[in-house]
Symmetry: C2
Subunit: 428 residues, 2 copies
């Protein structure tokens, strides 16, 4: 159940990750902390000197999560004094709580030998999941699992990858791979030096060709790191392109919060924007996308700079920004995707929609005749009705769109699936 | 002490981060979970729609860590049933434990209102620190702090940045910034498609000039993400270059583990290398650096491809690899830096040093006459004696080197400082 750290570093030669874990599990080692020197000795014998080189910490680690061949998963955490340890994973269903809202179901762990609590769940469907423990009411990451992801300003979670057909696109596989660039660019519109991630496809660095560009927007609470981490956009694109399902394309992942120069974790000392507050309502991000981002990309990358080779999509807040940008600039994009967002009724927040203006925008976009206007939403999404309203209004104008309804809600699982389906429809 | 999530998203307009936190702290809000709809309403009133767009989680968050003007720091964690909560931070001294080794000193938190435990420490010197909580024996990240970093395969920690002169280089400041590229390249030597990070300096994208290159190696247990995250190499270089202290240069950060294609968090499904085990002893990484990495960089980037414009440095395991590579290829680099590593006595691990071969290597490198051979080590480093031995052996050959002795040990604090001092000496 424990693996000594040193064993993590044995050669994975000709053994899959899982086979290797099995091998390791058979070598039952005892739970003994400290005695660093002896352990260093052991480590050194197995792999000379490899342990040297970082600040030295605990040399043993529980195996958690452990994925069995049938995709059941065992989670473990050592908690000597705990009375109650629960697992909260985003594969579990939401159930009504005693208040007005919904709460995620949890699973209780049971205490075993050596103060180690464990539970086995599943089998789980192939997917990328997030989870945390709650130990006597304290949110706790699984320190045995080095895979950790930040969900915007919401939370930090452990990541669990269940391999299988449905999640094959989400990981680096053998084969050519694109490059992810962390770029800082000037945004005169927002008066900031801002950060964005740009994916260039396999082969780009050795090619003189010009490529089409997909602008890919995150949701509220997120930032430019959302799509390259939780969204695994680079892996999805590599795998779609390598299998011939999608055209090679550049993907631009901006920070959609007009008051932020970058993810807040990058620099507590970045100058805040001098732009007015608002975020979504003020259209400033949309303006900066058109006036600053697109010109930067088209002058710094090998780009086919025309409508036929521009696509725009985003989820939730980014879906609203996609609508706003394409309505205001009907001749800019031939491919438009709105994920998990519709024509929400904002009147209770004091924001009145100008229906005559919206009608004119829909007509203008219809006249521009984009190749694809794609709308995707889950049946459990709390914005589902806004998508119904949107479709009704588009229908009134005989506006041509494609509607994709999925199961599930307002989740990264859905957004990864939507990207996997949207990208193959582009630039063909 | 709590801040509602929505308030995190108010406009930082004309307020520093700290001023804003002060403002927020004054609005004392109550600790109440759930009632999602009501909170969404509240959020929406403050910032229309901005909360929409991610999976929805808890809407409140403690403020932790809170840095006061005098650099004392208050840590907080809610733990309703805990008997003992401690803080472990890497600014605290190591003290002998009851075994044979050393243990880091910790601080106990005390329980206050609403089950919130807290402690105030410091004032702390300006620096980047790592810390975790231990709640009744369970390692626990500070979920109020979104800044989290992975220290190789060792651990995941929260990050605490104390601003001040000594840490000014470690963050994105106003001004031009370089680009960080996550690149996959073919390594015939290791029979892998491998990942590396490449930093290009401010202005690179708009320049036709050729640049010098620094190859920057991590330590054992680390990977290609070590220098760009814990090492903040891109921020250090941006700030040194922007202030005129260092020449604009490209920095290449590889994965120094020859059996790994990339950080293990990137893909549990990557094909393992077909190379024999060993890691450090087999010289395979060093061969791949010379045969695969350098040619890739010199053919894909705007590079001055000659000895005068090549530098190599690394810490610990990367220091050994730096020595190995420069001894085997004396004509390749004009600038060589060995951090926290010397001529270690490996005989107890069955590795005998061929002293006559080493003597010839030293003489060959001496004949190649590099501009700079720099050795840096902390007085508390557990490899300190190996550096003494190295200097003695180099002295025997009248080999010209510069020695930098710092306080402290085998720590990222020292390695950031060393990079800050090494980079300005290059390519001048």
């Amino acid at each position: 159940m424990y693996l000594r750290f040193a064993l993590l570093k044995t050669n994975p030669l000709k053994a899959t990750h899982k086979q290797q874990l099995n091998k390791i599990r058979m070598k039952k080692t005892v739970n003994k902390v400290s005695k660093f020197r002896m352990q260093l000795m052991l480590v050194a014998l197995i792999l000379p000197l490899a342990v040297i080189g970082q600040e030295v910490g605990s040399m043993e680690r529980l195996i958690s999560p452990e994925i069995a061949d049938d995709n059941t998963v065992t989670f473990r955490i050592k908690a000597p004094k705990a009375e109650k340890v629960i697992l909260s994973g985003n594969w579990m269903p939401m159930v009504p709580n005693d208040g007005m809202g919904m709460t995620r179901e949890t699973v209780e762990l049971t205490k075993g030998e050596n103060d180690v609590w464990s539970t086995t769940v599943g089998p789980l469907e192939p997917e990328l999941y997030g989870y945390t423990f709650v130990v006597d009411g304290v949110n706790t990451l699984d320190t045995a699992n080095l895979m950790v992801a930040r969900d915007g300003t919401f939370r930090t979670e452990n990541v669990l990858y269940i391999p299988g057909e449905a999640s094959e696109l989400y990981w680096a596989k053998t084969g050519p791979k694109g490059t992810v660039h962390q770029i800082w660019y000037e945004s005169p519109t927002l008066d900031q030096t801002r950060r964005m991630y740009v994916y260039t496809p396999p082969g780009y660095a050795d090619s003189n060709e010009n490529y089409p560009v997909l602008y890919l927007l995150h949701g509220g609470g997120g930032d430019e790191e959302a799509w390259p981490t939780l969204g695994v956009a680079n892996h999805i694109l590599d795998n779609l392109i390598n299998s011939g399902k999608a055209e090679p394309m550049i993907v631009v992942m901006t920070n959609g919060n007009p008051t932020q120069a970058s993810a807040l974790t990058v620099s507590p000392k970045l100058e805040p924007s001098t732009q007015p507050a608002g975020g979504m309502a003020n259209m400033m991000f949309e303006k900066s996308l058109v006036n600053d981002v697109i010109p930067y990309i088209e002058s710094h990358f090998q780009v086919e700079a025309n409508k036929e080779n521009r696509a725009l999509t985003g989820l939730s807040m980014g879906g609203l920004q996609t609508m706003n940008t394409s309505f205001e600039n009907p001749e800019l994009f031939d491919y438009i995707g709105v994920m998990s967002m519709g024509f929400a009724d904002l009147s209770r927040f004091g924001i009145e929609v100008d229906h005559s203006k919206r009608g004119k925008q829909i007509e203008a976009l219809k006249a521009a005749d984009p190749e694809l206007y794609w709308i995707a939403c889950g049946t459990d999404d709390f914005l589902y009705q806004s998508v119904v309203d949107m479709r009704n209004e588009l229908d009134k104008h005989d506006f041509d769109y494609t509607y994709r309804e999925s199961t599930g809600g307002h989740t990264w699982s859905n957004w990864r699936i939507y990207l996997s389906e949207f990208a193959p429809m582009l630039f063909k």
